[in-house]
Amino acid sequence: MDFFTSGFPILTVLIFLPLVGAIITAILPDDMAESSALAFTVLTALLSLFVIFGFDPTRADFQFVERYNWIDAISRQGESLFKVEYLLGLDGISLWLIPLTTLLMVLSVWFSSDSVTERKKEYYAFMLLLETGMLGVFVALDLFLFFIFWEIVLIPMYFLIGIWGGSNRIYATMKFVLYTMAGSALMLAAIMGLGMVNLVSPSGTGQIAFAFDKLLPVMQGLPQLAPTLATLPANAAMWFFLAFALAFAIKVPLFPFHTWLPDAHVQAPTAGSVILAGILLKMGTYGYLRFALPFFPEPARDFAPLFALLAIIGILYGAWVAYAQKDIKSLVAYSSVSHLGFVMLGIFALNAQGLSGGILQMINHGISTGALFLLVGMIYERRHTRDIDAFGGLWKIMPIYAAFFLITMLASVGLPGLNGFVGEFLALLGAFAANPWWALFGTLGVVLAATYMLRLFNKMFFGPVDRDENRGLLDLTRKEVALLVPLVILMVLIGFAPNLFLDPMQPSVNALVEIVNGNAPSIGMLP
């Protein structure tokens, strides 16, 4: 294990292994695309295990740090003015997102081998490119680098929905990309702004630089600093925060920026939906945790009620809109809006319980919604419809499928003993400690979750088998069971032993709480 903790650039390898895989997959003949892609995702997943085991759970700072100069430009007296670094690192906040990403990638690539029949080579190359982008987002610590990975993710997703999607895929994918781009444009402006602040601020390094550790102290002092600088408006910190927050809010998606999500989900191929819900949305919430909160603690505190309000509206609104859906996928998509509301509520509780709950709920949502989309994909492969009313009494015909669906549904509605409960409970507990009213309305979402999920489950699996098309449906194959089993194991494991997952994130979460509450930064110091 020492080998992996000392000197070996494990994060770089982790990020770029899928890219290498993408290139190789693109070169190899079409019929080898699946196996090549599967091999590379499995390899990446195995590598991510080393990250978990090599991670020191007692430390709050970044680990596995890699730091190189990347772009040095606009030299002035031998000093470069514009400095972008290749800076990677991992802490308790991003730790679990890595294995989540690699696991879901393996599952969705494996699942795709049955469902994708056209243009396989491109498909798998895009999947692998997507993995590179997502992993990069979660470990990049230079804002510029972060932005590049953030945008890289869009490209393969655009094609995955646009080429292998459903009937209305062009509209959905355009909407997805344009919506996200609108947010990223603001974020890019803000990133440039932060670089400039670092240049002009007396506490900065006198460069247009984007590294996390360089910006953190400068941004912490921004509310005091900004009024003294003629070039910045006095409330610059607030504007920067809002620019980041909007970009991330679109990605989350926070109400009322959520309408791209159901369209994208319904049109995306199954694997696309799994990745989209399981990982892509987490990029938004992760952005808050990594940049928006520690950089701008004051505006974050000031705006917490607004974001909590939007999160609560999202929880309730997502739930009751889900209740009225006719398409299984769009029901699950709206349930994501609701679940991500819990994450946001936890995050903006700005205390250890809320943040831990929010982070864990990100993982939980990835697992349970990922599993839900896989399940929907499996029934879609058999029946080629996702209309809820087209099903009924499936338990009798597909009991194994029903059992998996039941467990996943229960995890999704937050039944104690499964993963969803732990995340939701901690997030709501944190929200209650921050403001009881938030928790009061947030907790209502738990009731509403039961209404839409049980409606779905009852309609699909209970009642008489009233359609002949459903009579001959085959139960899950061994492969499909194998796809779902790891997720179900994780659901139970997180439900009964959440501390396995909560403990390693505690130091980082506590440090973040310190920062957000205005105490001196104790993380972000990098070698």
Binding site: W320, Q325, N351, G417, A433, V447, G463, P464
Partner: protein
């Protein structure tokens, strides 16, 4: 054994795991016996532990067995640990003991059901969750069990899921319970922010430091949860529908154990409940008592006219739970738990008895319609008679079963006597103790309502008894019914023994028996306070209870027993408005549907079909449309014609010139104004020229566009 207490919930969980993963290697019967055996072992272990704790004497103040840290975040921490004390052991005994008997009964009852393995998996899972509920040493673990039993309840109610009615009943139970759980969750949050811990020991140790109002709010929230789980007003509506499940499930979950979880929760929270004040001098306990007694009365009025054998029992359960809450509310904690204890026996007995009756009726029905005793493999259609219109649960179709099913009838009679509070049966002691303590606590009005309810209870119980067993069979099915197998009747007899004797064995001498000694160390100094005013002597109170019970039974005999209805039509009661209200359950379901369910569905539909699509998405697409229209307009400027670009340049020049003219510094302005009118004249001429240019260039648009078309261009 105390240190190994975790074995007890582990055993049923083991059953779940084995039957889930390796069940296909076992026959259905083997699965069933395995599940039953494991619960039996758990019951035996519990008994061992109880004797061990008894051996430790009255100083035993409970012991915590910690397995591991469950959930930690910041300064929040909860362990997965079990609390072994008198209350949790008592509940464990009831759960595993009654659970074992009902498992055994189910082997016979479900013998021919194709879903028997699934049934026993659920049943074991239920026992596991229920044990977590009562053994957990903190509120969060309690909540794990609390929701877990709700899940099992959902799964078991909709066990015969092919019938949409069952599935809907299950869904209703789960969602209504979730509403209560919502309040419990909030209560847990408030508990943690108040006490900084969720463990019972930590909380009850620092009650003094907390204001009565906060305690009032916490206990109020818990109580709202109890109204869901324990079927009190206003959330009781799911329980009568829950009878859609298999009858042993009704006995175990919806009579003996799960529905009493609310009582357990409140008694467990007794140290908090004792100090809790809701508003000014209205205690949380007062609310509990009022809700309890009103639920008892309300449910009894409905039970008076029901014709479905299980529904009568369902409403009587709601009513008896009301008594328990009356006990909790008046501080008679031990009496409430005692009633819980006796009720578990006699109500399980009654449900199993009714199951036996239905079983017999089914066989009778099959015997006449198919000419042979049928396999009971299709409960889904038969228990509700949806396959054909015959309803085996309708008491109007029965009558005269005494001769056909003597064992069932005798045990049912004993259960009925206990429920009615006939002197010296178990129900008599526990119910009377609650009522006496209510009166002694100074709650005279509550006492009177309780007595009235007791009268009604005796009446409807024996109305049911006479309608089912007395007289002559009213249908062919009843005439051909026969006794159930012994695997079903033996549990009935064991339960009957307890229902008959539990009061005498555990309840005597009054308020000083084995039962009370057992719980005394835990609840010492908590609860009951002697109220103001006149106290009925205990013997007088006993006499009143006895008279009321006997009077109720007597009235039922006069009305239904002396001259039983001979035909189905005759048994169908005709009544006025009150009868209709009672028969239709005061239309509460309809009211809830109109006030809550329907508006929610409308809101959902409105949000999904209109608001989300046209307002929110409309705004987004509106922006996109705006940009695309604007882009189209701007794109037209990029025509490719040099002269139009030149026009752009010139127009821009003029605009810039104009702006500069307005904003030039003063010296320059003075200089220009020195130039005087001609300069302004120039400017005006310039504007005129601009207008001319615009007009001339925009005019030949058609030819421009024609020229832009490459096809016409090349021709």
């Amino acid at each position: 054994m105390i240190d190994l207490i975790w074995l007890i919930p582990l055993l049923p969980l083991l059953g779940v795991v084995i039957n889930t993963f390796f069940g296909r290697f076992l026959s259905g019967k083997a699965s069933a016996w395995l599940a039953t055996l494991l619960v039996g072992i758990a019951a035996a272990l519990t008994l061992v532990t109880i004797f061990q704790v008894r051996g430790l004497g009255e100083e035993f103040g409970g012991e915590t067995v910690t397995l591991y840290r469950w959930m930690t975040a910041g300064d929040f921490s909860v362990t997965l640990s079990f609390l072994v004390d008198q209350l949790s052991l008592l509940m464990t005994m009831v759960i595993t003991g009654v659970g074992f008997l009902i498992h055994m009964y189910s082997i016979g009852y479900m013998a021919h059901d194709p879903g028997i393995r699934r049934y026993f998996i659920y049943l074991n899972l239920f026992v596991f969750a229920m044990l977590m509920l009562v053994l957990g040493d903190n509120y969060l673990l309690m909540f794990l069990g609390w929701e877990g039993v709700g899940l099992c309840s959902y799964l078991l109610i909709s066990f015969w899921f092919s019938d949409t009615v069952n599935a809907d009943a299950g869904k209703k139970a789960f969602i209504v319970n979730r509403i209560g759980d919502f309040a419990v969750l909030l209560g847990i949050f408030l508990t943690w922010t108040t006490f900084g811990s969720l463990a019972y020991a930590d909380i009850f140790g620092s009650i003094e430091a907390v204001s009565a109002g906060v305690l009032g709010l916490i206990t109020f929230l818990f109580f709202v949860g109890c109204t869901g789980k324990s079927a009190q007003i206003p959330l009781y509506v799911w329980l009568p529908d829950a009878m859609a499940g298999p009858t042993p499930v009704s006995a175990l979950i919806h009579a003996a154990t799960m529905v009493t979880a609310g009582v357990y929760l409140l008694v467990r929270s007794a140290p908090m409940l004792d100090e809790a004040i809701l508003i000014s001098n209205f205690l949380t306990r007062d609310l509990v008592a009022w809700i309890g007694v009103l639920t008892a009365l309300f449910a009894a009025t409905i039970a008076l006219t029901q014709t479905d054998i299980k529904r009568v029992l369902a409403y009587s359960t709601v009513s008896q739970l009301g008594y328990m809450f009356l006990g909790v509310g008046t501080g008679a904690y031990i009496a409430a738990i005692f009633h819980l204890f006796t009720h578990a026996f006699f109500k399980a007995l009654l449900f199993l008895g009714s199951g036996s009756v239905m079983h017999g009726m089914e066989h009778g029905h099959h015997a006449i319609s198919h000419g042979q005793p049928a396999e009971a493999d299709d409960h889904a259609t038969d228990e509700h008679g949806h396959a054909d219109s015959f309803d085996v649960q309708d008491m109007r179709n029965m009558g005269g079963l005494w001769q056909k099913m003597p064992a069932t009838a005798w045990t049912f009679l004993i259960g009925g006597l206990a429920l009615a509070g006939f002197p010296l049966t178990s129900g008599f002691f526990s119910k009377d103790e609650i009522l006496t303590l209510t009166q002694h606590g100074g709650y005279n009005l509550l006492y009177v309502i309780g007595i009235v309810t007791a009268f009604m209870t005796a009446f409807y119980t024996f109305r049911q008894f006479f309608m089912v067993f007395w007289g002559k069979p009213r249908t062919e099915a009843a005439a051909h019914a026969h006794e159930s197998p012994s695997v079903m009747t033996v549990p009935l007899m064991i339960l009957a023994a307890f229902a008959l004797l539990a009061g005498l064995i555990f309840g005597l001498p009054l308020e000083d028996g084995v039962f009370h000694h057992w719980l005394e160390p835990l609840l010492y100094g908590l609860g009951h306070h002697e109220g103001e005013g006149y106290h009925l002597p205990i013997m007088a109170s006993l006499a009143i209870s006895s008279i009321v019970a006997i009077a109720g039974i007597a009235l039922a005999y006069l009305r239904y027993g002396r001259r039983p209805a001979e035909t189905v039509g005759e048994a169908t009661a005709k009544g006025g408005l009150l009868h209709a209200l009672s028969y239709n359950k005061w239309y509460v379901d309809e009211i809830y549907h109109a006030l809550i369910v329907r508006p929610y569905e409308l809101l959902a539909a409105f949000s999904a079909r209109f608001f989300d699509r046209f307002v929110i998405d409309g705004a987004v697409n509106g922006v996109a449309k705006l940009l695309s229209v604007g882009g189209g307009g701007l794109g037209r400027l990029q025509s490719g014609f040099v002269r139009s670009y030149a026009l752009g340049i010139v127009s821009g020049l003029f605009i810039i010139g104009f702006v500069m003219f307005l904003t030039i510094p003063n010296e320059l302005r003075n200089y220009f104004s020195q130039l005087g009118t001609p300069a302004i004249l120039t400017f005006v001429v310039g504007l005129g020229l601009l207008a001319l240019i615009l007009w001339t260039t925009l005019r030949p648009r058609k030819t421009v566009e024609a020229a832009a078309d490459p096809i016409t261009h090349t021709s």
